[in-house]
Symmetry: C2
């Protein structure tokens, strides 16, 4: 197959993990006889430096005309004091909205060999394997009004959703559970928020269409506890944007493998965007020590979700597991034994394992 | 001293832990020669059953005329399907607003003897001792509009704050840090929310008044991670209502001692309310097995914050630690050794230790 991929390396460790990821993608192309045509674009801090815009129009246009987008990471101290419209993360928010990437999928899986690095006890966290399905284009992130009032004495942000926006992400949650262990945890704050009440109604209405999925409602505060006390009790968690932001970051550190976690941001029919769950880690940039595995596993998600190349995705995932099983790791993974590799050596090792 | 205390036992295990707590309060009265006059009132499920109102006017009036309020816990499955204005937690929200309890203080402390029960590794969580200062009467919880629109096709909730509301809780955060280890972590989502930008400005403006306090800004998603990976790095965390709800529940399970955690909800000059951080645990109600220590430690907080009885508060806290040190515990604490006590025996043991 021929596919056009827009690559957005971004800031910090973004470019080096992207380079590592593209080595793996090359190997997939030659092994499975595909043609991946790569175009590059600017986003985040680099885009601000060069175009004075965290998401130049050209990047968004290129993204819309591609078959999928790969993103490294954005942000860094250099831009921390910029006015908000000139901050790197605005680029991220703008591309989410611009491509209508309403569904953010964040799998969290414990790698047995990495449990050493988890802050949790092995008997609590061992075997965790959950997927957070976060709404990504609504809620407090984009609701209007979002402004100062009364001569700067009052401020409001708005948590707003349409029924349609809630329904599509909730359905995505059910569908995701159907493809996994058939358990859906819907997270809301229905004892306080009107929006959560509507959310819960929609979940209740949808569940008749997914009779094989078991549904539970958990309040966001209770979920924040349960992720720590019983992480293995979850399969798929579906929730709105802000709750999903907090809970997915919380979940990402449970297994000690943040540097291993990929993510996918999907539109209803359009282009998907794939990026590691971790950030741009400017403190370790340009040292060839960053962990490229979250980027590489994000490429596997792209192959599966955007190109329906399941064997290819699986080949990458198996190669990563094999390399980890052999005790190879990068410096971010605080494991006790094994061999520490550089970014490029790790990519090479995974290429060889495919 | 003479003090009038309004006691609201509430639902589930509320009445039995309150009874246990009052035994300890009696002992303080006789030991230190105080007179505590106890009145009782209805709130939550019981108030709905008897008065069809989760916070009867009489209760709020009594609260306003008391020197402090003690609350057990509210809620239970019996009222779970009630319409929202007839749900037990509405009583809680109404008394917070009615007494203007803007500052919720939730200390989280690891008891060395209970670390067995923590889901975290002892080297990660050992020595944690933090205080969450949560805004309790603003934000998404009370902002208007909070309603359906467009013929039930859209829904909005409103995150609104006045500068004054933000300032008073931020100042409370600084003051709390000053009384402890002089480190304040201000939590917001300033890269997305206008309200968080105002919040951060106020923190920056206030810090000149507290030169001895070190301040850091942490985004709410990053804070949800750091609570797990580095719980000992925190001293005081100050944040708005919804973030505080999520983070304080998350923090409450870190040390394995949820049943030990008290809370205080304070007004600017008025009456304070004191309650355990845990809920009404209807599944174990009326069995005399609930852990009364969070209630008892909430009474200590009342003595300290509302009555400035520091020695008395300290006497309770020392007694609890002593009893725990001797290996006594209740069934909720999943420790490996020691002696398990009933609710009333635990209260008795603490009374004797005073
Ligand atoms: C950078 C920020 C705006 C973003 C978010 O809050 O969505 C990030 O935290 C994430 O989760 O992708
Ligand atoms: C019961 C509920 C409304 C309440 C809240 O969200 O504030 C509770 O979770 C708490 O933290 O005291």
């Amino acid at each position: 197959m021929d596919k056009n991929i827009l690559v957005l390396p971004g800031d910090g460790i973004g470019p080096e993990i992207m380079e590592a990821g593209l080595l793996v993608l090359d190997k997939i192309a030659s092994t499975f006889n595909h043609q991946f045509t790569i175009d590059k674009g600017l986003i985040g801090g680099h885009a601000i430096d060069e175009e004075n815009d965290p998401l130049p129009n050209e990047t968004l246009l290129k993204a819309k005309n591609s078959d999928a987008v790969l993103l490294g990471a954005v942000g860094g101290p250099k831009w921390d004091n910029n006015p908000s419209h000139l901050r790197p993360e605005r680029g991220l928010l703008a591309i989410r909205k611009g491509l209508d990437l309403y569904a953010n999928l964040r799998p969290v899986k414990g790698f047995k060999q990495l449990l050493d690095a988890s802050p949790l006890k092995p008997d609590v966290v061992g075997g965790s394997d959950l997927l957070i399905v976060r709404e990504l284009t609504g809620g407090l992130y984009f609701g209007r009004p979002s402004e100062r009032r009364d001569n700067d004495q009052t401020v409001v942000d708005t948590l707003s959703y349409t029924r349609k926006e809630m329904k599509r992400i909730i359905v995505k949650g059910f569908e995701s559970a159907q493809l996994r262990n058939k358990k859906l945890t819907s997270v809301d704050k229905a004892n306080v928020l009107e929006s959560s009440k509507m959310w819960r109604e929609i979940v209740e209405a949808e569940k008749v269409n997914f009779p094989d999925v078991t549904v539970e409602h958990v309040l966001v505060d209770a979920c924040a506890m349960k992720l720590i006390t019983a992480p293995t009790s979850f399969d798929v968690i579906v929730t709105e944007n802000m709750f999903g932001d907090i809970l997915s970051d919380e979940a990402s550190v449970l297994t000690g493998s943040l540097g291993m976690l990929p993510s996918a941001s999907l539109a209803e029919n359009g282009v998907g965007l794939y990026e590691p769950a971790h950030g741009s880690a400017p403190d370790i940039a340009n040292q060839n020590i960053a962990n490229p595995m979250a980027m590489i596993l994000s490429i596997a998600m792209m192959l599966r979700y955007s190109f329906a190349m399941n064997d290819e995705a699986h080949a990458i995932e198996t190669a990563v597991e094999k390399v980890i099983d052999q005790g190879y790791h990068t410096g971010d993974l605080k494991v006790k034994h094994g061999t520490k590799l550089s970014t490029s050596d790790m990519a090479e090792m995974i290429v060889q394992a495919i």
